[in-house]
Symmetry: C2
Amino acid sequence: MPEAQPLIDTDAVVVGAGPVGLFQAFQLGLLELSAHLVDALPYPGGQCIELYPDKPIYDVPGVPVCTGRELVESLGRQLRPFDVPMHLGQEVAEIGPSGDGRFLLGTAAGTRFRARTLVIAAGAGAFQPRRLKLDGLETLDTTQVAYHVADPAVFAGRRLAVVGGGEAALEQALRFAESPDHRAGRVTLIHRRDVFQAPADRIDRMRALVAAGSMDLVIGQVTGFDAADGRLRSLDLTLTDGSVRILNAEALLVFFGLSPKLGPVADWGLAMERKQLSVDPSDFRTSVPGIFAVGDINTYPGKKKLLVSGFHECALAAFGAARHIQGREPLLQYTTTSSRLHALLGVDGSPRSGSAG
Amino acid sequence: MPEAQPLIDTDAVVVGAGPVGLFQAFQLGLLELSAHLVDALPYPGGQCIELYPDKPIYDVPGVPVCTGRELVESLGRQLRPFDVPMHLGQEVAEIGPSGDGRFLLGTAAGTRFRARTLVIAAGAGAFQPRRLKLDGLETLDTTQVAYHVADPAVFAGRRLAVVGGGEAALEQALRFAESPDHRAGRVTLIHRRDVFQAPADRIDRMRALVAAGSMDLVIGQVTGFDAADGRLRSLDLTLTDGSVRILNAEALLVFFGLSPKLGPVADWGLAMERKQLSVDPSDFRTSVPGIFAVGDINTYPGKKKLLVSGFHECALAAFGAARHIQGREPLLQYTTTSSRLHALLGVDGSPRSGSAG
């Protein structure tokens, strides 16, 4: 475990910074509750960004069409007036009572919270990238075998193998083949078949670069590797005809998508039903007072895993959190008419750092 | 009663074409159920349009700011692929069983439906304009005393008195003072005090027209009228100093806002709690099988009168309606990935009249 950091006191920790977690923090803000967002992924957006960043969504009320990326950007803009800190790339590692009715929550990165309430908005759980399974591969460090690119400079100028057939694989391959800042020594894109799940213009661009000799494409699978002194030297690629080709490579970037995994949530002693957290639909509280669950991770009679349901759950859970903290029913105010909400949102003309516009 | 029209058979009649009613029709469409919308107002939008057409709303998820008018326009655009007929300016006059498990519903205008389900999305009830209370005023016809302007040509060229201090009063006064098509003989705007609730640019425009002598403004109240042979001749205006002025006028347009009124919904034999319809939050069914209620008109434990809650209720009520009609759980499909939904929404490239974009 990393060294312990000072405790952060807050009204609420929202576990999960997907669309529902973002809107949860917004709803808490409207009720003047402080919140921190924690997510295992290194960026906000959850499933929306991981699974369908560029696919259109047609059923967000009042938004006839938007991509997952656009939705997450809009939700982030909406949340901005509340200046909610986000602790990204941090899995929740431990949770427990603080002894005074509050919760202690620690992340694997060492961030520690003392929170009056928790709202679990963890979607299908803490997403983890699907791994490439090769004996010994895990002994190589993250500058040589990576499932996320946190800092592209690490890979600049090196011989890179990028594995996968989805949008993430293509984007990274194109970035390292083209970006003037981070151009790789050489990029080879490897996929088990010659079909890619990505926007047509990105696929076209990749094929153009391959045709121009600016990058390589291999249809096949990574079936072995060679390393010396802890350094990756080459990969064994098994082609579709069964033959094996050796590819010199200094780093391997794998984009096989994400595997949902409940992570520590499953161990928290909360009432569950088929891997979902059971909640009361009047305020989406779990079986533990002060812990709420919203979005795809919860279940109640009639539950549908829809964004619009998650958003509603956030609103009522915020009221539940306020009741838990304040011991009374908070006032329902409307953003159209409440001058108090206008001041909070920074839209009353008073000087303020945030703006909802 | 107007002459009976042929019965319209449908899966669902949605009573109320406010934002929640519009989204209800959309959700029914996603489940391939046919729907008709009925509203007492002559246009869609309900409270959003009547009470805050130009006030910003900040808490629609993923929409950092929009006006009521913009929200209603977006919801209308979102609904367009389903070609849902709207029966506007029609109050629901009667409802009863059809004898085969369906419902018969008739409007005051004579439209008649036989529906497998009803979804009541009537907000605070059937809105009705607040009346100007003067003995005998109700004996004058709607070409002389009006609370809505269905056809502006009726009032063109005549001496008009427009009463009220809100946006509707100003818009109508400006229209009849300025529009080349419908210019009145003379427009007098009457309001009890010299303060107006309308966008600043509309107020400025009104004052400019008054200053230029193109229309009149009287601060006072209508306290009497004179009519002969059923024709309005003049109004008595009591000014703030108590003096009375006679204003020649051929028509009186009154915009005092809307008074919520439950209307026939209150007589339908549905379980209610403090003027709200009691519903089961698993699918927002009322106490009558096949009748659902969504939005501000319903109540259940934890209910908050929020747009985002109304939208969620629509989604689950659509599933409830499908279960009621089909006797089984409909498949939950996602608009991001389902090619069937893409075809319904007209976004699969196939030829279709509607488009969600």
